[in-house]
Structures are given as C-alpha cells and as structure tokens.
C-alpha cells in the first residue's frame, strides 16, 4: 500500500512540468467585491503587503522572498503542519502602491488543496462613493483537470466554487475587521 502510494507520487511528480502549462478548454473568471467603512489607505496598509497574508483566515503562516518587488515569492501554509501540510506557492507579477493593487499567480498548488491550474489574481482597494473603500478580488483560472471530460471534483464548477469560497472568506474577514459602510 505504502509502496504503491510512493510510486503514484513519483508518477505525479514527473508529470508536473507539463501539467503546469496544460489546462482545460475554458478559462474561468470571478470577481468578488466588498465594501468597507475604513479608508482605502487603512485597508491597503492591512492587505497590501504581499508578504503578509495574515488577514486571511485560511492562512496559518507563510514565508517568502523579495518583499513587494516583481517576481517576489510567497508560500502560504494552510495548516499548523507548515511546509508538511497543504500549501500554495505564489509569485508577484504586478505591484502598485499608488493604485493600491497587486497581481500574482499560483506557481504550485495540489489540486486537492485548490482544484485549479494556470491561476492568476488581482487584489485592489478602491475609494467608495460616499466614503469608505471597496476591495475587489479577481481571479482567472482553468479547472484542475487539464484533459477532456473532467471528474466532478475537478470540473469548471468545482474550480469556481473553490476560488469563490477563498475570496469570500477573506472579504468577510475584512468586513469583520473594518466594518461595513454606514453600519
């Protein structure tokens, strides 16, 4: 049983280089936004550091290199097990303090953790009409299964549901922290 597991891991690993570029037929996109009572600058100070994702409840710890420079990297650990548990490896490809926006891609994630491939995302803080701020989180990605006719857990719907849940959890945490406008 153990040996079989190891063999399968080996096979999966050897597929990785091509898997990273292979993808399904239709790229998905989602945009989630939330409105906050706090000013954009205050919200950006909390979420605008690529090396500090502690504002998101799913992120238990993280490490990274390169600060907020282009090509900076981070690894998000999603459990107490740190590097031995579920993780997401990401790279920064656009960053603007002025526009209060950064864009990043996932370089590596197991489909069991997040059932997506070729994932990229923008996180932006904007002023809200009437005061406060709007946080917008956008994602573009393909489903976890790169070939034709995906199994249910790795299809387009599963990918959309998983990414939406991650964004919603993060945005909900921000509402809890900064309050909703007019509330």
């Amino acid at each position: 049983m153990n040996r079989r597991h190891l063999l399968m891991s080996g096979a999966a690993l050897s597929l990785l280089p091509s898997m990273a570029l292979a993808h399904g037929p239709t790229r998905q996109k989602i945009t989630l936004t939330t409105e906050l009572a706090a000013d954009p600058a205050e919200v950006w100070a909390a979420i605008g550091d690529f090396q500090d994702m502690s504002w998101h409840p799913a992120v238990v710890s993280q490490e990274g290199e390169g600060g907020n420079e282009i090509d900076a990297t981070r690894v998000l650990y999603l459990s107490d097990a740190g590097p031995d548990g579920p993780r997401i490896d990401e790279i920064l490809y656009k960053y603007s303090d002025e526009k209060m926006s950064y864009s990043y891609r996932i370089t590596e994630v197991a489909v069991e953790v997040l059932p997506v491939t070729n994932y990229s995302s923008h996180l932006t803080v904007m002023p809200r009409d009437g005061g406060g701020s709007v946080v917008e989180w956008r994602g573009a990605f393909y489903r976890g299964y790169p070939n034709n006719d995906p199994p249910p857990g790795l299809n387009d719907e599963a990918a959309i549901a998983a990414v939406s849940a991650v964004y919603q959890a993060g945005l909900d945490a921000l509402v809890e922290r900064f309050g909703a406008p007019g509330a």
């Binding site: 570029l21 292979a22 037929p25 034709n148």
Partner: protein
C-alpha cells in the same frame, strides 16, 4: 404556421441590411456563451448571438460567413453574417483553432487533445479527412495567397506548414516554447507567439525556416498586422507589443485591458483587441498607436482567430 419563421427571417435580413458600411467584428465570448457582433465604424453592438458550448475559436470568411468553435460542447458552427445557423457538427476530441480556405471550400479545425487537424466542408461541415499534427495543435492560419496552412503545435514546440492544395506536410519548424497563436504578415512571413518563452518566432514559410526570434511581453497570445507593424497581445501583461516589420525592431508597448487575447486588423488600418477579463474590445490606431475606442462585449471575449469581416470602405 409559417408566420414565425418568416418573421424571424425578415428580422435577420433587416438586421443584416442595416447601416453597416465598415468592418464588423464577430467576437466569440466564451464565458457568456455568445458572439458579440460589433460594427467597428459606429462602435455599436449590432447583435449578440447566443452560441452555446463556450465559444473561443472563430474564422470569418470573405463571403461573410462566420465559423465558431465551442470547445466545451465540441461543436463547430457555420453562421451567415446575419446570425442564421447554417450548419453544425460535433467533433469528438478537443476542437479549438479554426481557419477557413474559401478558395477550396475547406474549413480546418485543430484537435487539441488528439494531435490532428480536421478538414471539413465549409458549407455543410461534413468531415472530409483528418491530418496528423504534433501534440496539442492550437492556432491555425492560411497564408494570404492561400498556398500554406500553418498550425501551432503547442506541446511539440513546433509549427507545421501544410501545402493547402494537396494537404501534405511540407515543413515542421521548431519555434519557441508553447506556440499558440499565429498569423501571416502582408509580406508573407509567419509570426508565431510562444506563450512559454514570451517571444515571437518569425518564419519563412516557403523555406520552412525560422528567421528570427523576437522578445515580447508575458504570454503572447495573438498577432495581427497593420501600418507596416506587427501587433502582439501579451495576455499576462495587459499590453500589446508593437514590432516594425521592416527591421523587426520593437516600436512600443501599449496598455490595453486585462487579459488581451484575440487580435485582428481592420481594413482601414486599425487593430482590434479582445480584452477577456474586462469584456471589452480595444480599437487602436496602428499609426498613432492611440486607443481610439473601447467597445463593450458579452462576457469573456476570446476572439481566437480571424474575427473581422472586412466591409466595403466608402
């Protein structure tokens, strides 16, 4: 009982006969299951067709027929310019790219999953034959003189060049990493965007050799030509790289919308770019390089292929 179809036909004809003097863009909108029909002279969305199965590939014939490829439902459709569905076929595999040979009445469709091209009758979409190709064939293009069919073989890092008359493979040209979209320049050279190596390979299709490799932005997706320049969409960078055709020198990098993908030239020297994330079409003056219009589309415009019908210019 005949009233309804007659009325539908009348409406379709009326729409087709509407005031469309210039070029028309047929933009496949993958997430919205639609084709946005945009009049590029007025900027109006002339019509929005409901096209199921997540359409991405598109080829507009010179006679005003429109072909779409929906990879999710594996369907290829043949429409009139007025949006009337003339034929439809389901292809067992991964249909993606499409190119039309009006001279010979053939439609070519790439099979992403099965390393081959389908050759269809361009009226009925009846399967005529298949051609072997390298791994994951994607973008297809026919040379301007109709002599050469080119296929980007994404996972083989090559471009296949077929004799469009005999359908025999003439050359297999190694290019950069993961070639996806391609296009023939007015001078006959073939430009291929390599999404893995962030460059463009320039090919002499007659000799079957690569002439140059040009660095562009991140994830080059499509290429089009106007005003003596090549324009390349950089999907991950929200930009278009502009290259001079005479000496292959970089001219400029233009900001466009998020996830620029399909790109094509109009008959009056403008460049249209589908911005997938923004649901817009950027129209760029190829000489001044200014964005002269930003048009709304349905959700998720891909426009992967020759998506502009060249109208009669006054």
């Amino acid at each position: 009982m005949r009233r309804a179809p007659d009325l539908a036909l009348w409406l379709a004809l009326t729409l087709a006969a509407g005031p469309v003097a210039g070029d028309i863009a047929f933009v496949t909108c993958q997430n919205g299951d639609a084709v946005s029909v945009l009049d590029l002279s007025t900027g109006e969305e002339h019509a929005r067709w409901s096209v199921s199965g997540k359409p991405a590939g598109v080829a507009v014939g010179t006679g005003g027929t429109v072909y779409t490829v929906s990879p999710d439902s594996k369907s290829v459709r043949h429409f009139s310019a007025a949006g009337e569905l003339l034929a439809e076929v389901t292809l067992d595999g991964g249909p993606i790219g499409v190119a039309h040979d009006a001279q010979r009445g053939r439609l070519f469709v790439s099979d992403w999953y099965n390393a081959r091209l389908w050759v269809l009758d361009d009226e009925t979409l009846t399967l005529l034959r298949t051609l072997p190709a390298g791994a994951a064939p994607a973008g297809l293009a026919l040379s301007r003189d109709g002599a050469v069919l080119a296929a980007a073989e994404r996972d083989a890092d090559r471009v296949a060049l077929y004799d469009a008359e005999t359908l025999t493979l003439r050359h297999s040209v190694p290019v950069g990493t993961r070639p996806f979209g391609l296009g023939f320049a007015p001078d006959g050279r073939l430009f291929v965007g390599n999404v893995g190596s962030n460059d463009v390979t320039v090919i002499d299709p007659g000799a079957g050799v690569a002439l140059a490799t040009l660095p562009v932005g991140e994830r080059p997706y499509g290429v089009a030509f106007a005003a003596g320049r090549a324009f390349v969409t950089n999907q991950y960078e929200n930009t278009v790289s502009v290259i001079a055709l005479d000496d292959l020198r970089p001219v400029a990098t233009l900001e466009v919308g998020d996830y620029p993908e399909g790109i094509a030239a109009t008959s009056d020297g403008r460049i249209a770019v589908a911005n997938w994330f923004d649901n817009t079409l950027s129209v760029i003056d190829a000489v001044t390089l200014d964005t002269v219009a930003l048009l709304d589309t349905a959700d998720g415009p891909r426009a992967f292929g020759a998506f502009i019908l060249k109208g009669e210019m006054p």
